[in-house]
Symmetry: C2
Subunit: 215 residues, 2 copies
Amino acid sequence: MDLCGSSYYIPIGMEQVATTSRGRPREFDPAQALAAALQVFWRRGYEGASISELTEAMGITRPSLYACFGNKEALFRQALDLYETEKLCYVKTALEAPTARGVAERLLRGSLAIQCSDSEPQGCLGVMSTIAGVTEADCIRDEVLKRRASSNAALLARFCQAQEEGDLPDGIEPDALACYLSTVMQGMAVQASGGASRDTLEKLVQTTLAMWPGR
Amino acid sequence: MDLCGSSYYIPIGMEQVATTSRGRPREFDPAQALAAALQVFWRRGYEGASISELTEAMGITRPSLYACFGNKEALFRQALDLYETEKLCYVKTALEAPTARGVAERLLRGSLAIQCSDSEPQGCLGVMSTIAGVTEADCIRDEVLKRRASSNAALLARFCQAQEEGDLPDGIEPDALACYLSTVMQGMAVQASGGASRDTLEKLVQTTLAMWPGR
DNA sequence: TTCATTATATACCGATAAGTATGAAATGAA
DNA sequence: TTCATTTCATACTTATCGGTATATAATGAA
């Protein structure tokens, strides 16, 4: 796979900036095409998204897709990257909340906001990609699980800090709480995928917070 | 589609019992074959399970599958029926617990037991089938959502009763609690699909119960 | 035995999947 | 202009999908 030349993603360690290309100029914007691909993966899942559907949504031809993004799997990874930076950025700020309960509230509300957008698919791309593809590309599943694990680690670290600050509910360990909160968020994604309304999920967030000891 | 004669599933309203057939006798046990099919659907999801994989696991040929079960979708529905009667039977007894908290505990533990079997796939067939197939056979998704809704209705009814008995946590409505509990169980299924260990899920159940007000 | 009936095995069908070969078109460099 | 380079458009490849046609084998009934 040759990703040199004027390819969109500049190989690591190339001293020569690849913005000035020599041959025929590309007629589409890779960033825009990738955003369109993300929407398709988000709606259909990895296996459910066919190359034909992707190219149509991206407004490019099949060989252009392969030349620019490598193959379906590589395209999906790049879509995942975009999803993380654009949609999961709320996680970082959520972890900066002053209390453990505040972290939970920000995470739940952030998750709600993504999954109930009127203009975007319902549900969570990550949850879809681990569940849907129990068979499929195992590497896809592993990739998503790896990213999820790193996110969980950050949450765990935050709750460890909370424990030191005496900020956790009685008798609950940081890892247990992190796992619990992740689970609720993943359950929320399942609800959203199933077509749950924004009101339903709003109420779900409220209920979860109501169950959280020590308002 | 002709399902008469000695077919396994006797058409409704046939006065003539179909157990005594006339032609060549079937060489496999439909119930056993269906159980094998369930395992495949459970591991792979509806779309992920190919007819070839199904027939191999069922130990029958392709035309036998179609003759006996109709088609892939009909086979899946029958597998769902089997899943409900064999794997989801714990729901019924769970609802008979004396307190709302007892209902939750039985549901969570029952769910745990299914999803952590050593001999069977991890995760929940129902959750897989709604998430995985956001694209795929919409009718499959709708079917599973319909069954889930009926199960949710039963849970809601039980929590309404609990409310009358003054058995609900303060300030929490029956529908909110039912939705919350369903969500946690669905999140558990996501965790299980992702390979979470039995210990992890045990702890998750404990944490969820610890969050439940009023021991 | 003869025949209608049902199940089996094999080989096939059209559709679609992911991925690619090939030649024309558009650029910068020489 | 000439040429190496890169993109684009069309058409193709191989594999697999769900589903079926067809012929043969095994049974009960007449």
